[in-house]
């Protein structure tokens, strides 16, 4: 197997696995930048995956090839609604944000599996017929060398994810909204003094994480798993959380980390069919994202610091 062929297998698989992580990690970035820890990313992905699959199964006949994209929008809305629970608890009712996030995760799994049994009468949905499928991107895939590696046999969702990351970077670092979002995450009292509505900005942050987490789950379900059951989302959300931290709470950093984790995941799956890698136990690849994140946090490869006010409810008048 030549080097070119190996790249042609690895790059598209990496991007496939990275896409859900990128969306969700961006969601986490918005939430944490506004000062709300979101351990509930996993639960938001579960909701997104469930909604996308159910919508896809129900409307595939009427919507045809557009089904996965419309399902993705619905998954996004479901994510927003579900994240509102986390927002109300952690912002308005000053709940411990970590505990509320844990509750979101437990609740998402309970609710979706309950509904799957209610709707389909069994523990797992059928396999969807209209999923995101492999495509060659027009024009770009004709570029010599780069085309076959990056733009052939790939998925649109991966590129949408990368575009989203660039947009998120622009929004967070180049717009008034982004400046306000970051300021309530770093020093809410100062922001409040300057007339910024801390509560409102934090709601935006959490709801955006719901939207992106929902999309992340929808992408995973419709491009990778193709159905929904209890094990569909198992750790993807936490890996996205890791990507956000590894990327130092920066959208492009989070994207880079998500691609890297996607690479590790894809190697753990296809590694056995590649020369050189077939003898390495895949446990190393499976734990790599988590171990690297811990090392990143300890500062051996450049310290990662969370937004200062992250995790602290803002109470007007408290110093």
């Amino acid at each position: 197997m030549g080097f070119m062929e190996i790249l042609m297998i690895i790059v598209p698989t990496t991007l496939l696995w990275a896409a859900p992580l990128i969306f969700t990690a961006l969601g986490g970035t918005f939430s944490e930048r506004s000062g709300v820890i979101n351990i509930g990313l996993e639960g938001l992905m579960v909701i997104g995956a469930f909604t996308a699959i159910v919508f896809n199964l129900s409307f595939a006949d009427t919507l045809g090839a557009w089904t996965p994209w419309v399902s993705l929008l619905v998954a996004m809305l479901a994510g927003v609604i579900f994240s509102a629970i986390h927002a109300v608890a952690s912002i308005t009712f000053r709940a411990d944000q970590t505990v509320s996030g844990v509750a979101i995760n437990l609740l998402a799994v309970g609710v979706t599996l309950f509904l799957v049994k209610f709707i389909y009468g069994k523990g797992q949905t059928d396999i969807i017929q209209e999923s995101f499928s492999k495509i060659d991107i027009p024009l770009l895939s004709d570029i010599p060398f780069i085309g076959p590696i990056f733009f052939s046999n790939t998925y649109y969702t991966s590129f949408v994810a990368i575009i989203f990351a660039v947009v998120a970077w622009y929004v967070i670092y180049k717009t008034k909204f982004g400046l306000r979002l970051r300021s309530v995450g770093e020093h809410p009292m100062a922001a409040d003094t300057m007339g910024i509505n801390v509560t409102k900005m934090r709601y935006y942050g959490v709801l955006l994480s719901g939207a992106l987490g929902g999309i992340g789950g929808g992408v995973y379900a419709q491009a990778i798993s193709s159905d929904f059951g209890h094990a569909t989302i198992s750790g993807q959300g936490f890996m996205a959380l890791a990507a956000m931290i590894f990327g130092k709470w920066h959208p492009l950093g989070a994207m880079g980390a998500a691609i890297f984790f996607g690479f590790a995941q894809s190697l753990s799956i296809i590694g056995s069919s590649l020369p050189l890698l077939e003898n390495i136990p895949n446990v190393y690849l499976l734990v790599a994202p988590y171990v690297l994140t811990i090392i990143a946090l300890t500062g051996f490869i450049g310290r990662a610091d969370a937004p200062k006010a992250s995790g602290i409810p803002y109470v007007k008048g408290n110093r």
Binding site: I39, T98, L107, G110, F114, P281, V287, I294, L297
Partner: protein
């Protein structure tokens, strides 16, 4: 209303709210709510077999709850109980399979191995928190998945030859009790309940009766004041995580030596560690509260398995109720506001 009263009322109101929302959900989805709750009750306490199974479920819940609560007393959030539990489970089974010893040595050794493994797995976040000020929540989450993949790997390569489950542990390392089993119509109830109760007493003793416990709590309340008073904050943080990990590892031993008697490759988490957060939270981190909360959640979990059989209600309903209880306890500010409003109306 006094603060003490409120602290007792909040968990009760949270449980009631959780059950009410669960009932509404059943009614909206067209299930028979009354039949559902009767099935739940029968599934938990209906006969001695179910009672035995319920107690079996309560055992790891108590220990996981203690683990979360102990760290919480020092101001640390140990989300890693799940990972420490898995590591403890593996260590206990490993010792249980690898040695041939008389029971009086073998069983304690296997239990000790689990405790040490859990302690080690919790030492990592404790050390990183103390030394590098890394948030323990993130590290413990990452270590949960690390534990899952590594234990799966060890089970496949070291404890078996490529299969998905280890051999059963030697009889001399087992917590299983023919006596308790025959009393409860051959449920899987085992001697672990004794260990769990001892652990509750130990936690109470450490926190309430020793200087060390006083220091641990002081660090949890105010690190700077503790430091100023001459306490070693770093040492206390690490110690708190390690003790928390011991409880979590013991919870793993209960599963490995008692309930199952082997270790198998897992595709996902056991959930006991996360339910431990619910137990500790509802029990307000106090030993007695944890026992009561573990009894509640253990009964709900085991009783739920009977709901699809007897009433056709999906057992996930109970997961929803548990999640809601966590949610309502966490949002206790909302309940306090509610109590205050009701009180004010009463005065007028």
């Amino acid at each position: 209303m006094s603060n003490r009263m409120q602290n007792i009322l909040i968990p009760i109101i949270a449980v009631l709210l959780g059950i009410i929302v669960g009932t509404i959900l059943m009614i909206v989805t067209g299930y028979d709510a009354v039949a559902g709750f009767i099935a739940l009750w029968n599934g938990a306490f209906g006969d001695v077999y179910f009672l035995g199974e319920t107690i079996r479920q309560i055992i790891p819940y108590i220990l996981a709850g203690l683990a979360v609560a102990f760290a919480f007393k020092t101001g640390l959030f140990n989300i890693g109980v799940e990972g420490q539990l898995i590591v403890g489970w593996l260590a206990a089974v490993w010792v249980g399979v690898a040695f041939e010893l008389p029971k009086i040595i073998h069983l304690p050794l296997a239990v000790l191995a689990a405790a040490l493994a859990g302690a080690f797995w919790a030492f990592i976040p404790g050390f990183l928190k103390a030394q590098y000020r890394v948030h323990e929540v993130i590290v413990t989450i990452m270590l949960n998945y690390t534990a899952l993949h590594i234990t799966n790997y060890i089970i496949r390569t070291k404890l078996s030859e490529g299969s998905d489950s280890s051999d059963p542990i030697a009889e001399t390392a087992s917590l299983r009790s023919p006596l308790l089993e025959s009393l409860t119509d051959y449920s899987r109830m085992h001697w672990g309940i004794v260990i769990a109760i001892i652990a509750v007493i130990i936690m109470w003793f450490i926190l309430e009766k020793t200087t060390r416990g006083f220091e641990l709590k002081a660090v949890g309340l105010n690190q700077h004041a503790s430091n100023y008073a001459g306490m070693n904050v770093k040492k206390n943080i690490i110690l708190s995580m390690v003790i928390s990990g011991v409880f979590a590892g013991l919870a793993g031993a209960m599963e490995g030596l008692g309930t199952f008697g082997y270790a198998a490759v897992k595709s996902g988490f056991t959930g006991v560690g996360f339910d431990g957060i619910a137990v500790a939270l509802l029990g307000a981190n106090s030993p007695i509260g944890i026992v009561l909360a573990a009894i509640l959640f253990g009964s709900l979990k085991v009783g739920a398995l009977n709901m699809p059989l007897e009433a056709g209600v999906p057992n996930e309903l109970v997961d929803i109720i548990i999640a809601l209880i966590v949610f309502f306890v966490a949002s206790s500010y909302m309940i306090r506001l509610l109590i205050r409003k009701i009180n004010k109306k009463g005065v007028k």
